[in-house]
Amino acid sequence: MNDGFADDELSLPKATVQKMVSDILPVDLTFTKEARDLLIECCVEFIHLVSSEANEICEKEAKKTIAAEHIIKALENLEFKEYIAEALEVAAEHKEQQKNREKKSSKFEQSGVSRDELLRQQEELLSRARERFKNQNIAHDNHTTTAIPVPTASETETKEN
């Protein structure tokens, strides 16, 4: 088994898969590193299997882009029908989010401010923040006393009583 950098790129993030599996299993349950890595490999195999099947379906229709319906058909053919409903649900939610995002971006276009102007404003804000931060650090280093009020002796006495 190859554990090179290239493999990580083509694989799935270990922490993500680990968290995903931990979320569905009881809290006190653990799994070994080897088991986790094996699950990741299984995921990759699954992706290859479904996309390969979808690609064949796609080519039969003389299309070049694998579309959602090809994936659905592939899942059916491969006897993974049980995953279709939820997959479609998430896809619909995603589409809804995209629509909302587009509404927001058209607001930006209507604001009348050019992209360059916005970038300039952003850079200005950033450099101001940088200055502030720098000054804060210098001030912190120079300070020997602070301005925090300290309770006087009489105040503490009344409290104790």
Partner: protein, 87 residues
């Protein structure tokens, strides 16, 4: 399990990269990658749950490599994974 709206846990860019590993694939729409991503999550959850059941039967709380392997060997749905294990 906490579910985020319209999102999957697996990074879409990685899923797309894995899909494109297949030389026969020309283009894959984002919607397709998303569908595969969700299906993959459900798939691995099922696999992990079945492995957990096996571990539980043996009164263990930790899933081992062997548990996953045993699930693959006994459940037809996971047969395509058997190549991952040396004979």
């Amino acid at each position: 399990m906490e579910k985020t709206y319209g999102k999957t846990v697996l990074p879409l860019s990685r899923v797309k990269r894995i899909i494109k590993q297949d030389e026969d694939v020309h283009y894959c729409s984002n919607a397709s990658a998303l569908l595969i991503s969700v299906a993959t999550e459900l798939f691995v959850e099922k696999l992990a749950t079945e492995a957990y059941q096996l571990a539980k039967l043996q009164k263990r709380k930790g899933i081992r490599y062997r548990d996953v392997e045993d699930v693959v060997r006994k459940d037809d749905q996971f047969e395509f994974l058997s190549d991952l294990f040396s004979i």
